[in-house]
């Protein structure tokens, strides 16, 4: 019974550890992917001076050359040119500072998922002049709705104040509420007509996979050295740091769980030693030497973890497999999740290296846990343990 309790606690400890790790890992990965797929992309290219103060006069010169380079790179899945301006959006009731993103609707569809995040209206399908997409949070703030008229005010490259009236053709809701509140989308053609320029401020691109980013980034840095080429880790360092911090945290969580497990094992094995003092005393009396007694306790503890660890890992892997398909719906805290760039549903996942780490940890910690009870067993005096020979 005692052994089953220890095995049970090992199973639960490992299962909980793996699941927590997978949950946190999945959560972080989703946040990164959401950011890449909706806002950051894998790589962005700007004018060398643009980053300093986001001045609209710093266009991407010779954009056709960039286009040519990107079209020749097989690692690149999609790219889109954008015009970027900071301005003011005004409804009859309120105003708000926004980033105005001028997009080519067909290019942008391949790059971001704004088109699939619409909760109302369509993705620039309206035949009305000057359509605009705004976020749900911003619409609520401005107290506007679909087909409402709003005014955008901004400065052109020569610092002239320009205003334009736009009609809301769609309202989007991404997984990041702050983004929805501070960014609006209009068509490049409409924006360029207002600022009387056909140049772009930004080129954003997606590679075929995350693994291709580094090589593509290096290659573009070389070929487009007269531009400012940045990868997602440089553009959004908080995402890259979160990855590193999360990994460290997950290892720490596992160590804490293992430490808790150690105390459970020590307690149980101590009970086992005290309950079997008579037996151990007898074994020592008849000629079982100390190293064998030590190995006996160590082996017993080791076998308990040998049974518990694979079962715990199997249970953990099974739970992750189930939940990684269906996801874990956290709609009840959905607003909180959206404020940090996460959706309602979290899909746990875990890297193989964590299983290896956990397996190694279980065996190391189990052996450590066995040392104290084993030493206690060694300190038994046969005559006292069996009371009499």
């Amino acid at each position: 019974m005692r052994s089953f309790l220890v095995i049970g606690s090992i199973i639960m400890g490992i299962w909980a550890g793996i699941f927590v790790v997978a949950f946190c890992y999945g959560l972080n990965k989703q946040r990164t992917l959401n950011s890449i797929n909706n806002y950051v992309s894998h790589i962005q290219i700007h004018h060398r001076e643009y980053e300093k103060d986001h001045d609209s006069k710093y266009f991407l010169e010779n954009s056709s050359r960039i286009k040519k380079e990107l079209e020749a790179d097989k690692n690149i899945k999609a790219f889109a040119f954008r015009s970027l301006l900071n301005g003011m959006i005004s409804s009859p009731i309120k105003s708000n500072g926004v980033r105005i993103i001028g997009v080519n609707k067909n290019e942008e569809k391949k790059l971001t998922s704004i088109h699939s995040s619409l909760v109302e209206g369509s993705y620039f399908e309206s035949k009305r002049k000057n359509p605009i997409l705004i976020g749900e949070a911003l619409a609520q703030k401005l107290k506007v709705k679909l087909r409402s008229k709003i005014v955008l005010t901004f400065q052109d490259a020569d610092n002239n104040i320009i205003s334009g009236a736009f009609r809301i053709c769609g309202i989007f809701k991404t997984k990041y509420s702050k983004y929805d509140q501070g960014n609006i989308f209009i068509q490049n053609s409409d924006l360029q007509r207002l600022i009387k320029s056909e140049e772009f401020h930004q080129l954003a691109l997606l590679c075929n996979s995350l693994d291709d980013v580094d090589s593509t980034y290096q290659s573009l840095k070389n070929t487009l050295s007269d531009y400012d080429v940045k990868d997602w880790k440089t553009i959004a360092p908080e995402l890259a740091y979160a990855d590193e911090i999360m990994e460290t945290w997950l290892f720490l969580i596992m160590i804490i769980i293992m430490l808790a497990l150690i105390f459970g094992i020590i307690n149980t094995m101590l009970m086992a030693v005290f309950e079997r003092r008579r037996e151990l005393g007898m074994l020592m009396a008849i000629g079982m030497n100390k190293s064998k007694v030590f190995i006996l306790i160590l082996t017993e503890t080791f076998f308990l973890s040998l049974f518990g660890a694979p079962l715990g890992m199997f249970l953990g892997a099974f739970t992750i497999r189930l939940t990684s398909e269906t996801g874990i719906n956290l709609a009840m805290v959905g607003e909180g999740l959206r404020s940090v760039g996460l959706g309602n549903i979290i899909y746990p996942e875990i890297e193989a290296k964590f299983y290896i780490f956990i397996t190694a940890m279980v065996f190391i910690f189990t052996l450590i846990a066995a040392i104290y009870p084993s030493r206690k067993a060694l300190k038994l005096k046969p005559t006292e343990a069996i009371r009499t020979i």
Binding site: M282, I286, N289, P382, T383, I386, I389
Partner: protein
């Protein structure tokens, strides 16, 4: 030849600053094939004397020689190994391993000695047969009576082919029938195979079977007779 020889054997326990002389200057010689009972009232020092002879208790002064080896000069591990090879123990409370069968309990000590599986099997069956438990070799201790468990304990003690067997109050927990069976069996082993037995007891039935009776009182031998 003396199998056991003690010279000036003394054990003093300290209890809250008070010194108790449990065994006091005991000189004792036991020869091969003897069937000896150490008798005396409770607290007379019988068990302490046996513990020291068995190398289970530290000696305050004096020496214990087993088959010519002064066991006090052995290191802890050497002493454990010496016990494994030379001394068989029979405990008052049997002390069998509850999860092992009778045969496995007997085999265990041979496993510690590094005997092969075949040798262990053959000898354990032989010994259990000798103590009259052929039909109980696969029974666990909880399936055996007290007397049967003690007979398994005797078989276990003999398994390592020791120089002698130390038995502390081996019949204390047994009924009269089991006591009689056990004593007859041990007497027969002593008679036929010259197995040396050294008991501590105050059971008159054991004393009646003994060929030599050593009476101890306040840690000192006061009588040594061969009835």
């Amino acid at each position: 030849m003396d199998i056991i020889k003690t010279t000036g054997l003394t054990k003093i326990y300290s209890n809250n600053g008070l010194e108790v002389n449990a065994v006091n200057q005991v000189d004792l010689n036991i020869q091969k094939g003897e069937f000896t009972a150490i008798v005396g009232p409770s607290g007379s020092g019988k068990t302490t004397l046996l513990n020291m002879i068995g190398g289970l208790d530290d000696i305050t002064s004096g020496t214990v020689e087993i088959a010519g080896t002064n066991i006090d000069l052995l290191s802890e591990n050497e002493l454990i190994d010496f016990r494994l090879k030379n001394i068989g123990f029979v405990f008052q409370a049997y002390n069998l391993i509850p999860v092992l069968t009778a045969k496995e309990n007997v085999e265990f000590i041979m496993l510690l000695q590094g005997l092969s599986e075949e040798e262990r099997k053959q000898r354990s069956e032989e010994l259990l047969n000798q103590v009259g438990l052929t039909d109980k070799i696969n029974s666990r201790p909880n399936q055996l009576s007290g007397g049967q468990q003690q007979r398994v304990a005797v078989a276990r003690a003999l398994a390592s082919k020791p120089s002698f067997i130390l038995a502390d109050e081996p019949t204390a927990n047994l009924d009269s029938h089991s006591t009689s069976t056990l004593l007859d069996m041990m007497a027969e082993m002593n008679e036929k195979e010259k197995v040396t037995f050294l008991f501590s007891t105050h059971d008159q039935r054991v004393i009646d079977k003994a060929k030599r009776i050593i009476t101890i009182e306040d840690g000192k031998i006061i009588k040594d007779e061969r009835p």
